[in-house]
């Protein structure tokens, strides 16, 4: 589903935030990326849908080499990938429904955009996505009236509304308390299980990663230092990662 070959990212041309990463992710995998602060987790994730431009290497999504894609072609790829951020990044002044509908933007023409038009089935999709995360009664609420956990569920609904093949999540539970974190992680698990969706998420809480992820990848200074199942991740390896 996602294939990264010799991927490197550098912001200043000197230090490699992502350093020669090779990763092959199959459909339906639930992958947790762990690593200390600054190890390159966010950079890696953002490179997958080319929010960050790679220095070298190849990005292959769904058997399609997107490494040299430009804006226009990228739109077609990006709409297949739902992305979720730590600080939710909702449009605070828009309603929950409007935020979720934004998941459909990748499919909209210029005219539809100017008129702000969405189809009946898209409204239905947005409603269903909100129902899936248990927020159907907040649908017309303005996003800034929600709690942190609710906001994060809205951004999950927005990603679901995209009907993506892949979900990328950058520290989706880092701003939440442990109780809410579990609720949110359960949604990921459910989507992963029911729709066989491929999920890659950055997570600094190793225990949560162990509990939910089928495969764990550890980064250290931009390099992959561990790639295996939760069971294989022992204390010795952890010590090395968080040195």
């Amino acid at each position: 589903m996602i294939k990264l070959e010799n991927l490197s990212v550098s912001y200043d041309g000197e230090y490699f935030a992502v350093n020669n990463v090779n990763l092959n992710i199959q459909k339906g995998e639930f992958i947790g990326v762990i690593g200390s602060s600054g190890s390159g987790k966010s950079s890696l994730l953002k490179t997958i849908n080319k929010l960050v431009e790679p220095k070298t290497g190849k990005i292959i999504i769904d058997d399609e080499d997107i490494t040299s894609y430009e804006e226009k072609k990228l739109r077609g790829v990006r709409r297949k990938i739902g992305m979720i951020f730590q600080d939710y990044n909702l449009i605070e002044r828009s309603t929950v429904l409007e935020n979720v509908l934004m998941g459909r933007l990748g499919y909209k023409s210029k005219l539809d955009t100017i008129l702000g038009r969405f189809t009946e089935s898209e409204y239905a999709l947005a409603e269903k996505a909100l129902k899936n995360v248990g927020l159907e009664d907040k649908i017309f609420e303005r996003a800034d009236n929600l709690s942190g956990g609710q906001k994060q569920r809205v951004s999950i609904a927005k990603a679901l509304c995209q009907q993506p093949k892949i979900i990328l999540a950058d520290e989706p539970v880092a701003s939440l308390d442990i109780q809410t974190s579990k609720v949110v992680m359960d949604y990921f698990k459910m989507v992963n299980f029911k729709k066989n969706m491929t999920i890659v998420l950055n997570i600094h809480d190793v225990n949560l990663a162990r509990e939910y992820c089928s495969r764990i990848v550890a980064l250290h200074k931009g390099k992959i230092v561990f790639d295996g199942s939760a069971g294989e991740l022992d204390d010795e390896i952890l010590e090395r990662i968080y040195l």
Binding site: K46, N49, L51, E71, L74, R75, G76, V77, R78, R79, I81, G82, M83, F85, D87, N89, I91, E92, R93, S94, T95, L97, E98, M102, G103, R104, L105, G106, Y107, K108, K110, T113, I114, G116, Y123, E127, F140, R142, S155, K158, Q162
Partner: protein, 526 residues
Amino acid sequence: MMKSWKEYIYKKKVKAYTLLMVLIAITVFLGYKVEFDFVRIFTGIPNMMNLVKRMLTINTSYIMEVSSKLLETIEIAIIASLIGIIIAIPLSILVSKNTAPNKIIWQILNIIFAFFRTIPSLVWAAVLVTVFSIGKFSGILALSITSVLAALKMLKDYIEGIPNNILNSTIAVGASKLQVLKYCILPTIMQQSLAIFFMVLEINIRGATVLGFVGAGGIGQIMWRDLNHLRYDNLATLILILLITIFLIDYISLHIREKLKTTHIRLNNIREFKLYKKSKNIAIIALIGVLIYLVYKSIGIDKERLMLGLSQFKTIITRMAHMDFSYMPKMIKGLKESVYIAMLATIIGTVFGLILSYFASYNINSDKYVVMVIKLFVNLLRTFPSIVMAIIFFRGVGPGALAGVLALGVYTTGVFTKLYSEVIENINDNILNSVRVTGCENIAVYKNGVLPETRPNFVSLVLYRMESNMRTSTIMGIIGAGGIGASLTTNIAWRNWEVVGLLIFGIAVTVALIDVLSNFIRKKYI
């Protein structure tokens, strides 16, 4: 190597005293330059008090007489603010770093706008009056220009403050540039635009009252006439009317802003939601249509006059571009005086502001009534445009730089106290308590807790006031309160466009230099 604590304290003391001596020396120098004279101020007090007393005996028949001009003033302010925000919203996309479609256009536009922002509205008005004749059209145009620029700056700062991740999260769903604008940027800046509209309106209502000094419509025309005829009784009534009007507009604007924050429409299903969206869009389009019509009606200028004006404007611009450098020495003298006025007013405002802030902050001063009275007083001080305040000081100390300094100083005191006391009230309680637990006096809490804690805000406030005062001091001379403004009005009146060009350029350079200097200090000390 560790220094001994004695040495440390000694060095710190020496540093503090040196700084104090330098500040005093600068103040004395500036005072000398603007002919600061305590005796003159002191002997002028009865005259000024007399003016204030007359303000309290309202001449009601005069109120009726000037009411149409007062309405015109409000009209000018509102229309200019509307034009300002409506033009600024689309432009803001081009000048904000994170939304600009083209980096080269972005760079060029920002340089041009920064240059034009240094020109005060009264200068625009003075020039435009000679082109489009006396009347409110020139005033509206002048204020609209400065409103666009002011709104643009505020919007740009806001847009550039939108977190990158918010843009990214929209791009990540496969949104096009247009979609990012419509679904991400626009909703985010919409509410801010309303706030900015009201901020611009508050600036414009003050600006509109003085437009008449150069013949650009509004109540200032009458004020100017009364001033020249030495009708201080009428002037007193006018000033009072202005005070009430500005107070009211500020109040209404604050009220509407609060209200909008909390209003909310309940929707029950998707059909209602769509209906709501549709009617909202139609309402917005209709509103803009009505506004454009009203603006068109109110401006009231025919096409021929406009065309004639534009062609004249072209010749004026060409003549301005051929600057007359022989005027340089005189200009430098005037600019220097403007800088002195601005600096001294800033110092005066800061010193009095520091003292007043102590009494005006709820979390320092435990006497709630004193706080309220001081806050009211401070708002009174900042209600007057400084240039109107200068007229009051003319009565006491006569025209000249001193009146300018005092007027600007009073205004600065008002604004500084208001802003700084708000900074103080936002300090975390724990910080104050950590000083209070030592059992010290309130004044010690102020000196040892508040001042060090808020030093960055303090420095940035002083610098911000200095930048603003520099702009105002360049127009003080228009009514005879010192500085470069005097040469500017005379040369505009004489149509010496080559000199006017040089003067405007000189003002822009000076204001820009002060901005650069202040930015440098800000970076260094914050």
